[in-house]
Assembly symmetry: C2
Homo-oligomer: 493 residues x 2
């Protein structure tokens, strides 16, 4: 986090009064006990009270808040439902927390263009709920879909079980309305296919609240597939499971979902939900095929053949929709299930080229021995997005920092095999200081020049994503020297 | 085009010598008769000789050329195969033309990650050729795919008949290596799913050579579908055909391709290739369904039902692959076929929300009467990308400007119904001055700030895409006033 601007802290009363003038009624929260609910997001190890919480209701209010803050050097942290796993919506002591939860209406349902227009505070599942009676749905499905907002999905480029076949948020958003830090309101994309000019829509998706505030989202909707069947496949080793994933993809099959769990995760899940997972395997794959029945049956036979070639020891195909959902129940409950076998766990998020799965799984076992901590793996195998859960006990001195070191080593391994630091949870504060592992100085400078093009005074969500601030004027000279990190340690509770 | 920099013109000999020092052998072309071949792209109404043509062979050479030009205030126009339809690769009198055609090798074929790594000068079809013996292909298929380069596809975000189902270039490129104007070499994306940091990869795709020079492209490859069958459907009115397109999409069907032709285009094509198109209809749809046979047959029945509801008068389903290809032969020959019935034609490129098709087709007929010129329509109906061909005779005084006015009116109509100025041909010089029809001042300022973040001296492909240059320093103040266009008319031959 950047150091608080003391000049802003001393002007708090004036800023709060200005916010109340812009957002009347109950839209401004400044009492400490009422702000407590906003002090964390889902990266619960970190807490910070904001300067003031503002909950606007109209785009004009968002514009006025940003214009005031930009003109007065006040920092702003945008926030949706606060379900970020990387601390992306963590407040700052000297920043207005701009909470978009009152933007909660579905504005338009347009089946002929297969599009829904929604305000950013609508939940991910809220969009599907609005259209499922007509047989449509919105494809990206983060595990937090009951709670997370579509605006937050845009900020983090969220994924989910079905993103292997249907794409991430970036592939399913057609347009947005956003407010720039100077208060300008711009529209990017729309219901049409593509747009001339630079792809600012793509740039905004996954920009973690550093480039602007989204006030409207147009998403692509899909027809629900006619059939979906799942196959549960067990392997004696994780490497065989990983190879099966690579072979399914290489065969040209794109399952609706392809998830993998390792032995610790299988045992924890089965102990929790009792859905009949095999307990004598080291790796379990759940592969879902969807489409017309004839296609699904054909692909299931192909998947069974490939699994057999990779030494699978069990293979069960769901014979009803209830059975299919039971296969998924264990996977979906895996995080809380792991929570039952360990006092604490750290959920990591890295992505690798799919064919490197066996190598990375083997490397992770070596790291587990090195750091003396167990790791359970539950991940989106099909798209190479790993979620290793590092098990530790915060009450044993040194275990939290060992877990964090272990996590950093895993992410470095991901980068070494040609992967990246995150798949769908964002960088936020959690992986901020690992960015140089992935990006060269030229890369980071170029990203920072983009940041300066949107927010030259670094007022939007500062201290997130980038390991250091660089002055825009310096970047303009195209040659910068890397200095010391200007951020003190983030307070951890 | 910006006015030539006289100081650069006077230093030509020195610049040519510097280029020869960087790119030895035959990689520098400065003789006028040898440069003639580069003076146009596929927007053939415009011609301009460059300062000098440079054909580098290595990324280090590209970096050295750009660094020299950046340090010395020399403009650079990047070029692939020169097939741009919007003048995107049109040379400038005072600019180095950086031709990437010697970057022509496929570097890596990686089936397990479903990826191909290619140099930017490889043709679009060259990628499919390298992998088709294993049953794979690269999906986006511009009509120019025999000639156009994958680097040019990245610059223009090129589309094609199969992009309705499989996406544009932006959806099929996983990573690039590019050289910034200051000579820095950066890598964006890779074989993994997504990347942290800003989506600079998405930003580069469709940036029309204004942000950097691509030196390597990693693309996603797909397994060829098991079956493909096409349906040829005729309608008494264009509106019924347009409604059928909207209804097919609304029913949740995503055909591999869905193309439409109107009566003038049908007649010209049938007269040219004689494939048996019906001549008693006003609109002809070609809809291709692909996938496993059972799925394809099921979807064909659905499409036939929807066509019948919209008053189709003929409906033929291909019974063999030869017949399917004959259905496409007329469509693929439609541009040259129209060239046989009119001395000249202007090919437009606009995109609209799909359900607006009937309204836009009706509007175009009114405009045809207003401007006294015929128009033939051949377009990617499924994704709302129109290619109206305006027929005129350049030898009749006033007809070219009438055709250009007609074209501008069509594009304004596209914007009015919620569409955009281009689908896949880019803005280039052709639609540059229409950008304010689509974008507000705040929009254009923000795009120009991005341009400044990459190329603060406006040396890369100046005069293309944006209707005016704005000084980066002015934009930094976040408030700019719109001045006069600094560009003289582009020379037309």
């Amino acid at each position: 986090m950047p150091e608080p601007l003391t000049s802003v802290l001393s002007r708090r009363a004036e800023i709060v009064a200005e916010m109340r003038a812009i957002v009347p009624g109950e839209g401004v929260v400044d009492a400490v006990n009422e702000m407590r609910v906003f002090e964390s997001d889902a990266l619960t190890a970190y807490r910070q009270l904001p300067l003031v919480v503002v909950l606007p209701e109209t785009v004009e209010q968002v514009s006025a808040v940003l214009r005031f803050c930009n003109d007065n050097g006040v920092r702003v942290v945008p926030r949706g439902s606060g379900t970020s796993l990387s601390g992306g919506s963590l407040p700052l002591a000297d920043a207005v927390l701009l909470v978009m939860s009152r933007f909660n209406r579905v504005l338009e349902i347009d089946y002929a263009n297969r599009a829904v227009v929604a305000q950013p505070g609508v939940t991910n599942l809220g969009i599907t709920n609005a259209i499922e009676n007509e047989g449509f749905y919105y494809a990206p499905d983060p595990s937090s879909q009951i709670a997370c907002s579509i605006g937050g999905n845009v900020a983090e480029n969220s994924g989910g079980v079905h993103c292997l076949k249907y794409g991430l948020t970036a592939n399913n958003v057609l347009g947005i309305e956003m407010v720039l830090v100077n208060g300008d309101i711009v529209r990017l994309g729309g219901k049409h296919l593509d747009s001339e000019g630079y792809d600012l829509l793509g740039l905004m998706i996954g920009s973690e609240g550093l480039l602007g505030v989204v006030t409207e989202v147009t998403v692509r909707i899909l027809k629900k597939p006619e059939t979906a069947r799942a196959v549960l496949i067990g392997f004696p080793t994780s490497e065989q499971g990983g190879q099966c994933v690579a072979d399914v993809i290489a065969a040209g099959i794109i399952p609706g979902g392809m998830e993998m769990m390792d032995r610790p995760a299988i045992e924890a899940a089965e102990d929790f939900v009792r859905v009949g997972y095999p307990l004598d395997v080291e790796a379990l794959l759940i592969i879902e095929l969807d489409g017309p029945p004839a296609e699904v049956n054909h692909l299931i036979a192909e998947v069974e053949r490939i699994a057999g070639q990779n030494g699978s020891t069990t293979c069960r195909v769901s014979m009803s929709d209830a059975e299919r959902l039971s296969f998924w129940a264990g996977r979906k409950a895996a995080f809380p299930a792991v929570g039952r076998i360990s006092p604490d766990y750290l959920c990591m998020d890295g992505t690798i080229p799919r064919k490197e799965l066996p190598r990375v799984l083997a490397g992770m076992r070596e790291l587990s021995v090195k750091h003396g901590l167990r790791v359970a793996n539950v991940f989106h195998a099909g798209d190479g997005n790993l979620h290793p859960l590092i098990l530790y006990d915060a009450n044993i001195p040194g275990e939290l920092s060992a877990a964090e070191e272990f996590g950093a080593d895993i992410l470095r391994l991901c980068v070494r095999v040609g992967g990246v630091l995150t798949g769908e949870h964002g960088v936020g504060v959690e992986k901020r200081d690992l960015m140089p592992e992935m990006f060269s100085e030229a890369d980071l400078d170029q990203q920072m020049r983009i940041k300066c093009a949107f927010d030259p005074n670094h007022l939007l969500n500062p201290g997130k994503v980038f390991p250091q601030l660089r002055r825009c004027a310096e970047l303009g000279r195209m040659h910068v020297h890397r200095g010391q990190l200007p951020f003190p340690d983030i307070p951890r509770f």
